[in-house]
Symmetry: D2
Subunit: 300 residues, 4 copies
């Protein structure tokens, strides 16, 4: 496995096109796109890494997976009365389907759906407590206490997040937001600003992959359903293509991170901050494809 990861890393560093770093979060625009890391946790408990696997990066939308796990733990299947489970066919921040479906987001991984999920997690307490729960859960899943929120990134997002503010107010207008838009958005932006290394990310995915020794934070049924959602909706408008090319459930973030689950076999964390046209990590998607071909891990 170490050899495979080394080969992939060498290959990635040879590429000319690293994609473009996300432009809409000021704090992230200055990141050098020519960075890469990959980590794999296997069923037997071993972890392998290559590249800058100890460098924390902004997990952004990958956090939606963990918030979903936390929210399902808190409110259970009631969540599905407020959020759907279907791919959206549109970009991650579109409001078109939201209008057509009267404020019920298509799935928990488009921004609107993640904001509703965060809102459900927040209800009845202050943002600080909800954030503490998400962060605590991630630390537990990753078996690491060295995971933090980057407040500068959160503030940067808050200052420029007009599109997400529009979505939150829109949800409110349809009665699908229980808290004040500012509170829910504040929580959402902070959860997106969590930073992790690929090692931590791979470790945190073990529970979803159902690996032995993984912390028991989610039932097998819930884990499978989260994986199913990652498969059909985890890469926004590029989800079908990711399923087609990689054959494993995964969730990407505009920070360049990707969490990939090979059920019963492995949990994978990848990072490279340059993005492709869908807003998913360019080198990360390539590496995922190379890895699954090399080890033949497709679920299909």
């Amino acid at each position: 496995m170490q050899d495979i990861l080394n080969t992939i890393t060498t290959e990635i560093y040879r590429q000319d096109d690293w994609g473009q770093v996300a432009q809409y979060i000021p704090e992230l625009t200055s990141v050098d796109p020519r960075q890469f890391a990959i980590s794999v946790c296997l069923a037997d408990g071993q972890t392998f890494s290559a590249g800058a696997a100890d460098k924390p990066f902004s997990i952004q939308s990958v956090s939606k997976v963990f918030t979903l796990v936390a929210t399902l733990g808190r409110v259970g299947d009631q969540l599905w009365s407020r959020v759907g489970r279907e791919p959206s066919g549109t970009s991650f921040d579109s409001v078109i389907l939201l209008e057509r479906e009267q404020g019920r987001p298509r799935n928990p991984f488009v921004n609107a759906g993640a904001i509703v999920t965060t809102d459900a997690l927040l209800s009845g307490r202050v943002p600080k407590l909800a954030l503490a729960e998400v962060l605590g859960l991630i630390r537990q899943m990753a078996s690491s206490d060295e995971i933090y929120i980057n407040d500068a990134v959160a503030a940067s997002e808050q200052a420029t997040g007009s599109r997400n503010a529009a979505i939150a107010h829109y949800l409110k207008s349809h009665g699908n937001l229980q808290n004040a838009p500012d509170l829910t958005l504040g929580t959402y932006f902070h959860q997106c600003a969590i930073e992790m290394t690929t090692t931590q990310l791979a470790m945190a995915g073990r529970s979803l992959a159902g690996l032995k020794h993984a912390p028991r934070v989610i039932s097998q049924q819930h884990a499978r359903r989260v994986n199913a959602l990652m498969m059909t909706c985890g890469h926004y408008d590029g989800s079908g293509d990711f399923a087609f090319q990689v054959g494993l459930p995964g969730k990407s973030g505009v920070g360049g991170g990707i969490l990939i689950i090979a059920p019963n076999v492995a949990s994978i964390g990848i990072w490279s901050p340059g993005l492709n046209g869908y807003g998913n990590s360019h080198a990360g998607t390539r590496a995922a494809s190379m890895l699954t071909k090399a080890v033949n891990w497709s679920v299909f």
Copy 2:
């Protein structure tokens, strides 16, 4: 396995709500919705069935899987320049996304995409030959020669298929139809009018499941990709929900059939003609969910 199928069948026949038979194909409106069959082919070569597993039914959109296999065999990955691989987020016969994406259908399982796939299979020869290829492929995959096209159903569809005619002309207007709309539509309607039993359908899925002894009609890579497409797009606007509930790739048809693939483990054919709100078999979807829970076959 036989016990499980018997239990499911008994349970299904106890239900009050069988859904509604498809209304838009005249020949199918008279079918009694209170029918059910299920067949399972296992990796070891054994096949189990329960219910009306020897009764041929109209496979309709399930045929899109076989046409895709045939077309990939004929034109290979060139197909993807004309059809996408993303879930559509809209119903199976919508033209909205088609307009937004200038005549390139979202995936080969929405009607527009299947019409383009059929068009690619047809090019350079008469419809009779293209149909012979699809039918021959299905017979080979099912290891059965007793599979036929129901001409009355094809004629019925042709007479009333205005929506599909609209889609074909629309594709033509964007230069994404190589043959005359009537020829491509004629081929498409006949392929949809193929009739199979659940036993034959389960047998025909073995190659996609990669089971031993299955006819070698498709490479593992192509099979996996077809399965990925079934997972993300196989149930139209209910694809996410099917992945969420059943956890296996599947393709449904308005005749009430569902083909489900458990990679490396089994191939499953289910039929019950009453449909749910998404246009997928009501009892069939329930049975799929019951089976995968009983045998724990989710890919996730």
Copy 3:
């Protein structure tokens, strides 16, 4: 003319169906829908009224006409780089076209366009001054100082205006809002909360109708263009129907008011708070149709 207005009023009071009072502004829900008033200013300077023509009502979207006049006076045709002049084909608070056209509202009479217009009027000063300008302009146009903003209605709208907040943030995300969303929205809600009688409204329309003795607040060219916009976009998704039935440019508000311009002939104010399915005054639209038939004032 007085006879005609009396006949119309009698006829209106005989109707059973008064439509429904706007539900989404709490302060307006308690208004009795069974109220009606009509006022007409003629070219010769005479004014005629019938019904509750001295009762102030919330002009709501009718204010968009006056804000447009004020903004054209302030920034001139530069406004059109930020707002279009086409009917929208969708409801007044839709965001679908806004997404498709990347934050440039279709016209100044849909909410998004009015918010941009208000934003242009506001820039460079505090809301209080912009509001003073609009209110001053209306008083001048109406030749009446007894026109006020109802702060309770403004506050009520502000508290519940999530859809408009969504639109403002959305515009901001596309760079088409110069001020903080809260400031522009506050100004917008207060301008909508202006109260006028039908007499005042008819008087205020004289400048747009180009009547003799009307205050000179707008050039003939600008007046004609405002009238053209009222004709094509003044009744949201019912604009075509209003043009078809009434044949005069008009602008409606959810408070039940309608301002109608018969160029060179008359200015008309109508009010009845019950709304039809498009969100336009039910009795008001009927009365407009009756009046123009009686006096044969269609521009066509």
Copy 4:
């Protein structure tokens, strides 16, 4: 008036940008865009012309006005149960709104609405008779028998009209087409292929303008309503702008013709085959604006 028309013509011939000739009808692509003609019929019966006012051109969508007049004469207001009267907010051949509104076109001037209007005119007889009625009506309105259908243009359109075929089949699928798509489309393409000179077009508009001595083919009420529809929907997605700039109801065609009505004052025919971005005549729109400014004919 003759001086004004001469000045406009001289000015137009000085322009560099003539727009682009319509590309999608093969027979029309070879037309030289640098042509211009304008004709005006006044209330007193006089007619003035300048430019190539005796050269017949393909009236294309301008024919929709005459078909509407004929159909209103035949089925009256029943037509409005099948076609709306609202601007569409989308391009002339869009199917998006058609899907959202379940097969009821927005207005009789988008292609879908014109096809339904033609279908209503056709029902119960053969295409030849329906066409004879439209052609006869136009000849009567224009007081000229020298108006013909160009069969080569009709055939050219039929051969390439996939988008219109898609629309017709789509309408059929919603039950809003009474005749076979081919019959209705054949009639529609032939009506679009009528050729007129600007003199004939101006003459044909006299009845809609309500000019004295005009043939009595339509009631004042119907004429006004047709004019209202021309104002709100006559220039597709550029209708608002035409109303804003020109201030008169008008209907354009992709052949470069524009019919403009100044109620009670004049009827105007303009032609220049180069089109602007909305598909309306570039020089024609300019000339219309120049004329109405010169003579101050805005209805507003």
